[in-house]
Symmetry: D2
Subunit: 504 residues, 4 copies
């Protein structure tokens, strides 16, 4: 009799499904599973806290609890297949602790081979005709490229659609890079105007959620016509009724559109392009003037401007925080698809370091020279900051840039802080949004052998970032002190969003 | 200020989404919602127990709790749209009791118009080519028609596929009627052989779940190639890896197949057709000999044989129970699509009368002459039997046929029962599967003004059924006493299934 | 090796904990458990629907899922002990289906003996002193006897407290019978005045929930002082702050009170007794005049008056419904403790027949001559009416009295109904509260061999009830047609309660 | 109209219930609640991660969702009262985000005053008699003091019981300090023998859970008689049937025992005392010899020995980790009740810093000179290490001692680590239990202005700890490098426990 343990079955089933990496927190009884995974050829990365992965549990597409060891491979296959078929998402398997060390005869197990690549579908041809009719009639057309286009690996098709039709485009945060942010048709610098004035919008794998203001006035025209492309039927017409609902794989549907649209082209000398370019120029000037302010502490725009100048085009940008993520998104360009990881739709804090570690382990395995840059608000960094030990342990050359404004949304400067301290008990005085001024987060990195930099000036920023980019052996952390002056704009926006989430 | 209550908003939002019927159990605070629904032009059917609808809660595709009255129309639209887009399913809205009577200004509500018809997609053309290649090479091809084909209203396309290619087909329980059960290509009477020997199976909107033995040996060939057509990506390759995975709307995909398969035709004089026909003839003889047994009490086959002869071809058949549902499925033919409602995938007991009432209310509204026949095991009838009062209250001319074997899986005859009673306390003696012998369920119907029939003989059965069919004013119940002799076959099969459900 | 199955382990573990009865719905895989239970000497009662027991799941004190067969006896002991220790309540064990037929060596199981009787505690003596001080100073004292006193079997102590101190008392619905409702100190007939004017209330195992109007004004004095006796610490000071909080077993704490209160006695010629007696006399006259109305259909009071006259003092009364339960509670006296089962705190409909069956099986086993009378509203009866088959199957001589007002809260008379039918589609016309007028529920009983009576007059009521009481072999059902005229008082009250439940 | 917001109502309701501190993570919409809390006079402590408080959600005694602003004070009172009455525990209130900024008229709110102190009960006197009878007959009696005795503030009564009867005692981890660990009757140094050989055990507010090996052989005598004192009825006889079950407040019940036991005294020259003292002497020698080993890196015993010598007797010890918590518990004495916080029954990692901050904020408010010492395993520290910023922000002079063995259960030394790194990809080579060797956790403290110490030798340990104790202005962190040599003993023990948890 050839006995296998539950831990071995889990590991072998994952391996059979081509799972290459396992991330975990050891403890009883995870050790056995982690060791079995390594024995089966899966790379194991030990993390310090489950913050970065806990989100999986709540929003899983599939969850199951195998009732016997025999069922483990089948359940694992279902979980893996469910996670990659249809709209991608997390899945969850709950395996009772005493199954891990239990044993059975290998012959009694039904083994399952790796699931095939996800199936692909196309839109109905009548809807395609309708979409092209709308597009041709548009005065102010706009393409919005969402993360669905990135997941679908549809960059070639999307580029062809943009370049053949000459329509301006906007990426969503996670859609950045499907086409390069410096593509001539990218109108991100005139985002608000583009959203507001567009009369026909092609939505490619982007959801009309809070990131796109739900597609509602006053941020969108009440008369806008949406051509929506999505692989998830339930997403179509969500929040705004689609004028053309194209259900299918983004790449395949865009190919259908291209075949139908033929050689039609939206004129580059149209009023629409003029108004967008005018706004882009104006915004670029504002942004540039903010970026070139020489007062200290730096503002967000100055910091991001210089970071942007130095980052290699092929780097992977991970980002979380409030202002940090929002402003960073506009200032840091993406040039390649799937090279950006934001905190995402739910704004869960603490995911950044975990995402960065995952990306860096992958780059390390593939012996790619691409760098992972993790840009964190100081409050966000507090959630999972101890993961820098993980980065050092595995010598992952991640560059963490903490944009430090001494607080959440806004903090206070050291002098004000000291004065508040004199007034009495800080638990009654310190505004709830404040953190310790000028906290030296860079030392959290140096504590574990990585390189830490305290950055106050543009020169320090450029020099520290260049050194970090040159260092391919170890992670670095730049603690960039910026002006903590109050910026509650983002908070107010977030407050409205939360009201909506409460409803849905 | 134009005030509306929560109840009104719920009712109007449902009406906006073209919801025509509401089924409920009144009590606090449902009364107000029901009255508002009637005021808004929705028909309200008051039920006696929530058994028939409770299943909705557990497996809903979408669930939400509006946080304010303003959100109700948007949440209702999302719930309705989610229920009909993609794979159809129940959705769930939880509205706090005190919202129902709360009031707001109508002007503050965001009203939402009716969601469009569900979007449709097609399969990838390379997969279509692959499917047709497999089909042309098949020695023993089989088409399985599932409920997905019925929901997709793809009967025209499916019929053309069957008739153009000449391939034999099998319906699943809820797929019965997409093509008529008496279609010459229907091989339901050789179901086991067809499943076991087929080398290529076209699965049209059918899941490889317990009803199809998961597609596993020994019920299927281990070498069978599955051409799977489904609108749900996650369903593809579930349990058995698809040799061709066709993601899309059943009708649209079948049209793609037809365009590619052209005039190829599987020969009607093939060995495969010969072996299937031979088996069908043999099975028909067995079934006929069972059906023609003249001993009393009747057996299942006799009862169903005569019922089958009298039922009009356009009637709607609702069915639940163990043996009753299984044997009834083979004996009672369906001729039209969407004219059958089984207890379904999870075998939830108690749903039959609720399904029958819903179908009958619809027929009544449409002034259709189609009849609803609800065939229940005696145990199953116990779960929701009091709903006959609802049928009588609304004068719904449903015909309930209770196939009464005095128990669950099997019971005992009155004489044996009386002897057991003499032996002492029945709580210690009566087998858990037994019910009261010869319980007169027909009187539960006559109690409320419907017509009840106690049926022991073929003559009584035919006469009672004919009378019931002639009576279009009120419901009827036929209590058909059959042989309670032990038939544990179905139990043993169910037992194996439960093991699998435990796992997944 | 001595093998046992999971089913056997479950049955034996229950038997070890002195569980004598099992109630179930057979189906896969309950049959094996039911058969094993009978083999182990547990009486098994097969029910028709799980309505009556489903409530267990939601509010269980303890729930567990044994991870292996070895743990079953320990988990069963924990569940049984948790259900009877502290405040009694349901517990829930979830056993995976495939465990039922799995087998293990009996030697590997840790068997657990029956848990001891529940522990008992006493109140702090300083709180007792405080309580007695409050009591002695009271001008208008009142004792409220709750179901906690019944569960604690404290009838002897409570009677002594009432009789020694001469204080008036009120029972809660489930506290009825701890002292006889005809005890001279019972002021139930002046309930509203007693609650409103009392200045000191001794609350014996009763919760200040909706049944007692939460103890809030305007139903209670805002200055009332509560002496609260409860075995559940968390219940003390709930909704109203207790002036004296006596934590402990009701019997033990009442003994402590008696030891301290000594021979003090509240004067029977006090103003408080005068005002209560005056109100009782007035209410008795109103109630009597309602009861003696001779118009037909009868009203609630007439029906209950005559039922009350015939019922034996030792019968067990089960009740559910809206008006039926509320009015019945005041009109039907209880003379013995633990002889009343109401739908209870949450007003769950459908529990009546299940409660009645459980009580009757117990009486049958104990060969007691006590009768079980189940008084149901017509709507309530619809939830579990099919359980009459269970009553007939086990020959349980339960008397069901359906108080039939053709609806929920109120219905319409047959003539009005017929007129509405002429107006068109009843789904748009029939008020949601209406049921079929004069539905003949008695035939649901006669269908299974029990005795059914349609009752319109006082004479029919008395004769049918007397016959039913004389029949000790089979169940009976009296369908008592009463005036369906609208009585929405109870609905409005329920509506307010629901608002509170929404909050808590 | 006097308007209040939801945030204000929450804050005022908490203040009314004498809640003095709020711990939170700001973000939308917590900011408003935190600011309202400060305005109401509640001290607010902003944390970095919700790890330390997330456990509250899962195991709450009470949870509610107010359906309207009016209900907030009542729900808050219920939550606070439920958390402190009966067995103390967390409670949970879920308030919809949009309620926080909603406004209502203050006059419409029902305000609720502070709930009274928890009620107290006593045991039944017959059970007391039985307990004393068992105690007098005991040959090898033992008192186990659990955290229930600490929560009940029963230290005076427990001390009297121990000193009057002369019985040896053992504290549980959280019961340490109820009596001083250096009390002559404390037999913690002979724990295993005391548990195994005791014939009568008085269990004072301690559960027979995994920490006490469930009371099962081979760790306990199969014939041991348990005298169990607990305020929670459901806990009595759990896992082992109590020979005497004393339900009530620990202090009150111990007073009852003292009144009954009178002047009886267990002889100090008994065989039982001799055998315990012999074992204590032997264990002390082993422990001393381990503690005095001079090899480097230090072992656990050496580190704890010197820490123990320097810690003031009134310090508050917080502890989490595997070996660190287990060995620390035996080596670090507690002298005062409620001066120890362990990771607790469920072994949740990451709670230490949160517990320490809560204790230190309390000490700071009370201007007590008592110090908080937080002893953490290096893996445990990774879960919430970023909370050192919180300690620095509020200048809480907590002393964190990280017992650093380079891993979980065990790690590897730097030299071995370097050799492993040469072998290739560490994700495939590093054992899952290892962390970065000699990680400089002390710098995580110095990063925020606290004092960090890297400690390798006894001298460094003593000097760093003394300096830290002298520093009352800021927190310190001692990173104590100890021998990473494998110690899997604790893992194996934990593994067995997990099996049990799986079951219950």
């Amino acid at each position: 009799m050839d006995e296998v343990t539950g831990a071995q079955l889990i590991a072998e089933a994952l391996k059979s499904q081509n799972v290459e990496y396992m991330f975990g927190i050891v403890g009883v009884p995870i050790i056995e599973v982690a060791m079995a995974a390594q024995a089966a050829g899966i790379k194991y990365v030990g993390m310090r806290n489950e913050q970065a992965v806990e989100a999986c549990r709540l929003y899983s597409k599939f969850s199951a609890r195998p009732s016997s060891l025999e069922m483990i491979p089948a359940v694992v296959e279902k979980a893996v297949r469910s996670s990659i078929y249809g709209r991608p998402g997390a899945t969850y398997i709950d395996i009772a602790g005493d199954m891990v060390n239990a044993k059975i005869d290998r012959a009694s197990v039904r083994f399952v081979s790796c699931c095939p690549a996800p199936p692909v579908s196309q839109a109905d041809s009548r809807e395609i005709t309708q979409a092209v009719r709308l597009l041709r009639a548009a005065q102010r057309p706009l393409i919005i490229i969402g993360k669905g286009a990135a997941y679908a690996r549809a960059e070639k098709e999307v580029r062809e659609l943009v370049e053949v039709t000459g329509i301006p485009f906007l990426p969503t945060p996670m859609g950045k890079g499907v086409l390069s942010d410096d593509h001539p048709n990218c109108v991100a610098a005139a985002r608000s105007r583009a959203l507001l004035q567009a009369d026909v919008i092609v939505l490619l794998g982007a959801r009309l959620n809070w990131i796109l203001h739900f597609g509602f006035p006053p941020r969108f025209s009440p008369h806008v016509k949406i051509i929506q492309v999505d692989l998830c039927a339930e997403e179509l017409s969500n929040n705004v009724r689609a004028a053309s609902a194209l259900l299918g794989d983004i790449g395949a549907v865009v190919r259908q559109l291209l075949e139908t649209v033929r050689s039609w082209r939206f004129p580059s000398d149209s009023q629409w392009w003029l108004t967008l370019k005018e706004k882009m120029t104006a915004n670029a000037q504002i942004s540039k003037s903010l970026a070139l302010q020489s007062t200290l502490p730096m503002n967000y725009y100055t910091a991001f401007h210089h970071i942007s100048e130095l980052l290699p085009k092929d780097c992977i940008i991970v980002s979380e925080g409030a202002n940090t993520m929002d402003i960073g998104r506009t200032m840091l360009l993406n040039y390649l698809p799937r090279h950006r990881l934001d905190a995402g739709t739910f704004g869960t804090m603490g995911v950044g370091p975990g995402f960065a570690i995952a990306a860096a382990v992958l780059e390390q395995t593939q012996k790619s020279a691409q760098r992972v840059v993790c840009i964190e608000g100081d409050s966000a960094f507090g959630f999972s900051g101890m993961e820098v030990e993980t980065m050092c342990r595995y010598k992952l050359p991640i560059i963490i840039i903490v944009i430090n404004n001494n607080g959440i949304y806004s903090g206070v400067d050291p002098k004000t802080w000291k004065e508040m301290e004199k007034m009495g008990d800080m638990t009654t005085i310190a505004p709830p949004v404040t953190l310790l001024p000028e906290a030296q987060y860079e030392q959290v990195m140096s504590a574990f052998g990585g390189r830490g930099y305290l950055v106050r000036t543009v020169e320090e920023l450029r020099s520290a970032l260049q050194e970090s980019l040159d260092n391919t052996q170890m992670p670095s952390l730049l603690n960039v002190l910026i002006d903590p002056a109050s910026d509650l704009f983002n908070y107010l926006q977030a407050s409205r969003i939360s009201t909506y989430f409460g409803a849905i």
